[in-house]
Amino acid sequence: MAKFYSKKKLAPQMILPKKETISFLLNYSKALSTYKIGNISIEIIAN
């Protein structure tokens, strides 16, 4: 019986950012406050 050659296509790996990166972004968003005074935008990051 003839050999059956086929290229197995691997399912594409879903790559994701690190959990620490996501965690940082969510904390950053919670800590960031912005205020607009006239044309000036002030960003405050609370510790």
């Binding site: 994701l16 950012p17 690190k18 972004l25 969510l26 968003s29 919670k30 912005t34 607009k36 960003e43």
Partner: protein, 195 residues
């Protein structure tokens, strides 16, 4: 019970108007794979992709919080555009200061060799020059004079002939005998003058 899937537009609106942090978390979770995958496809480095992903969303968060974002139902394309611009910025910066990783096949030192002599070679060279100067002293004055003018002062035979008041053929002859006598002295004393 049907799960309510909120659209990007609603999530963005909730985030901006109500400071709903869970809306941001949903947006990130929904699109992280596409955005991160896009970045990684360009830079091919996980750590760098994380950095650019982080910078991308920091810009997104700032823009949303300062209410500078116009909702037109194109949240994902907008974020991808930010990521794309940051990738371009990265390549522009790295072009100015290219980072070369040394691998087995490629070493920067194959192309940027230090051509200066080692200390050992320098010492040997100095010793050879000292020995050669001693050997020159063994030669007759007229031969020594021609040899020094030719090898150390880089004069042409015409200039040597004019300076010493002899014909060019005489200058050439003195040079020939100087070299022959030098070789004899070197062989006789078994001196090694190679570096």
């Amino acid at each position: 019970m049907a799960n309510l899937v909120l659209s990007d537009a609603v999530l963005v609106k909730n985030y901006i108007s109500r400071d709903d942090e869970s809306a941001l978390a949903s947006l990130i979770e929904r699109h992280q794979s596409k955005i991160y995958g896009f970045i990684y496809s360009k830079v091919n480095d996980r750590n760098l992709s994380d950095d650019i992903f982080q910078d991308t969303f920091m810009k997104v968060i700032k823009t949303l919080k300062t209410k500078s974002y116009n909702e037109e139902g194109k949240f994902l394309p907008w974020v991808i555009r930010i990521a794309h611009n940051l990738v371009v910025d990265h390549f522009r910066k790295s072009k100015k200061m290219p980072f070369q990783r040394e691998t087995e096949e490629y070493s920067i030192f194959n192309y940027m060799a230090d051509n200066s002599q080692t200390i050992e070679c320098q010492i040997i060279k100095n010793q050879v020059e000292i020995d050669l100067a001693r050997l020159l002293d063994e030669l007759p004055d007229d031969q020594k004079e021609v040899l020094i003018m030719r090898m150390y002062q880089d004069l042409s035979f015409k200039e040597i002939a004019e300076t010493t008041g002899v014909s060019i053929n005489t200058a050439l002859g003195r040079m020939r005998y100087a070299l022959l006598n030098l070789r004899k002295v070197i062989e006789k004393n078994q001196i090694i003058l190679t570096n």
